[in-house]
Every structure is written in structure tokens, then in C-alpha cells.
Symmetry: C3
Subunit: 150 residues, 3 copies
């Protein structure tokens, strides 16, 4: 397996943590800058195709009171798969809306593909895969989606 | 946003994990070496101004049976803010004194500022911000503070 | 203390996460490639001496339905100790066999030693040390060991 060098791993770490920090601190409207033009995002929140769709989702997301959340990371596996830099990032989602907020609402994986654009690594594909607490993840996604009808 | 390069991110990771490893393994009296002379530490444990104050706190801390603790990290966001290297580190504090020790006593953020002294990165400011389990964090801080009166 | 440079830390991160990713995704039979010939692995699962023993364990392990597991990492402290690169990695083991799968079955440390072979870092010694939930870790190890008698 080809090596992932220090410069690349550092950039991906910065990219991935920046995304979650923005999401967790009320800046969902800025996350689109971390995706490629043709990026695809899939998961409990639905499917978004293209940076513009992610931008629109983020602009709406910041207007919704989704409750306090922190995406705690638990390890990042990076590997080259057919010349594509792929990542698996474990996460725990802590929400103050949980019965016990100190027990994660869900545990899962971000299954990512990255691409370099103008020398900068961006997310080209993210699939959010809840593994434990999938019902909680689905219920939360529905609350956020439902809020759009207000 | 300016890049955080691999060398810098690595040094901060080493710095931050070293601090927690020392705290978690009974070496609180050695953590002062990781702070600048003018460092400020704030949080549930109170405010400490200057490396000397942190040194004195650590010297006392190792004499107190505070129970088993592990500061589990969950992601580190580094960013340059007005030419200062800032970090947000998510943590889960597991304590054997908790009703269920496998549920974190608290979840929060270390909000850090770093400075380079003689070519070495050190902590210049650390603000410990419990986000979930704040009552547990406060109660633990009181037990530690109260222990000083023995 | 000698510095751990970016290239080295990156390689160890890649090594350690690769190991857990393989374990968590049904590829225990491939983990032996990440160990030195003379590697020793100790912990609740027993002691394995040599890469061959680790290979045999892995080959058997993939035939056992051990349930879903994710080894969530919570920080990696690397340090040179007497010219040996040592690591302490915090982990949370989430299992779908737990009464509440969103509460980790155990929390502990991988206490590692690494060695460079042909320019590539490998695990020379791993000691798995459960710290919280030790009963759960022991019970799981017994289930896995017992399964070999089928």
C-alpha cells in the first residue's frame, strides 16, 4: 500500500476537523468551502450533489435550532484505493437532546474520498454511516428535515 | 486561512497529548514544563497565572488522591487566528468515581493558544470548557480544591 | 526528551489506525503484516509471541462471529524511551453485544513499542491494558477463546 505522507495526512486532519468544528459551532453555512465542486454528501441527512447543494443546505441549517452537538473523533484511517485518497473516520455524536447527553446519540463512520484542487485537499465524497444508535441518528435527521417546513 | 504545516501540527499533538498523559498517569508535577512563563490556565480548577502557579498547583495535585482519570481526546482543530496558533481539542473525561465509569463524567473543549519559545511550541493559554456534564466537572474540581485543606 | 518528527508520527498513526480498521472490519487475518517478526502481543486475548502466532490467531479470529466492534481512539502519546519509540494510545471499545451499545464495553490503553524494519515502522510490542470495564473485556476475551473449541 502506498504511503500517506505527513503533509497529506496533516492536511486531511485539518480539513476533517475544520468541517466538524464548523458544524458544531454554528457555522454550517461555511462548510461548503471544504468540498469540491462535484462533491457528493450522503447519510441520514439525505443526499446532496454538488457544492451548491451543500451550500444551500448549510445556509438553511444555521437557521434551525438543532440543539447542541459535538462530533468527537476516534481515529482516522487514510489509504490510497485505486489512486484515490480515502478516509474512514470514527465519530461519536454527543447531543444535549439525548436522554443522557454523556452517552453518545450515535457512533459511526465518515467514509470519505478526497481530491486535490489547486494544490488543496478537499472532500469529494462523504458518506455518513451510523453504526450504533442508528435510530437516534435517523430521528435527529428527521427533526432537522422537518424543521425546514416551518 | 493560513495552513498549519505538518511539523507544527505534529508538535502541538505531541504537546497536548503529553500534557494529558502526564495528568492521567500521576505526573501533574511535570506539566508546568509544557507552558510558557506567562501562561494562563483557566477552567473548573480555577485560574492559574504564570508557569510558577501551574508548577505549584501540580506539586500539590500529585499529593491528592483524585481517583483514576483518563482524558480521551476526540479531535483537534488548529487554526491561525490573528497570527496566534489556536487549538480546540475535544475531550471526554472518564473517572472511576463516576456512577458508571464507562460513561464520561464530562465532555468539553480545551480552547488553547500556543507560542513558540526557543523553537519549541508551548501552551500559552488554556481554557477548559466543560460542555456536557458541567455539574460533574464542577463537583470534581471542588473535591480537588477541598483536598488542599487536609 | 527527543522530538518525534512529523514523518514518524504520521507513520505510527497510519500503522495504529490501520490495525484497528482491519480488526473492526473483518480483516484480523491481515494484521500480522503490521508486526515485526519478533513481535509480542499481550492482553485479555492472551499472549502471542512472534508474527507467526499473530498470523495464526488472526486466521482463526476471522472465522469467529465476535460481534460488531469499533475501537475508537482517544489520543496517542509518542515518546522515545531509552532509544525505543513507545506509544500510549487510549481506546474505547464499542460492541453491539453490550447492554447499551452506545456505552463503551471497556476503556483502556494500548502500550506499544515500535521498530523500523527496512525503513518501515512496525509494532514490536503491544500490551492491551483495559482500565475501565475490565470485567467486560475479560468476558469478551473468554467468548472469543471459547469459540475456538467449536
Amino acid at each position: 500500500m502506498d504511503k500517506v505522507d505527513a503533509g497529506t495526512r496533516t492536511e486531511i486532519e485539518q480539513l476533517v476537523f475544520e468541517h466538524s468544528w464548523l458544524m458544531d459551532h454554528g457555522h454550517a453555512d461555511q462548510t461548503w468551502e471544504l468540498f469540491t465542486e462535484d462533491a457528493v454528501s450522503e447519510g441520514p441527512m439525505g443526499t446532496m450533489v454538488g457544492r451548491q447543494a451543500i451550500k444551500e443546505w448549510g445556509a438553511r441549517r444555521v437557521t434551525i435550532a438543532g440543539g447542541l452537538v459535538r462530533h468527537v473523533f476516534g481515529g482516522m484511517r487514510l489509504a490510497w484505493v485505486d489512486s484515490v485518497l480515502c478516509g474512514t473516520i470514527y465519530y461519536l455524536a454527543f447531543r444535549d437532546s439525548s436522554p443522557d447527553p454523556l452517552v453518545p446519540a450515535s457512533m459511526g463512520e465518515f467514509q470519505d474520498e478526497y481530491a486535490q484542487v489547486d494544490g488543496r485537499w478537499l472532500i469529494r465524497k462523504r458518506t455518513v454511516v451510523p453504526i450504533l444508535g442508528t435510530d437516534n441518528a435517523a430521528a435527529h435527521a428527521q427533526r432537522i428535515a422537518g424543521a425546514s417546513h416551518v
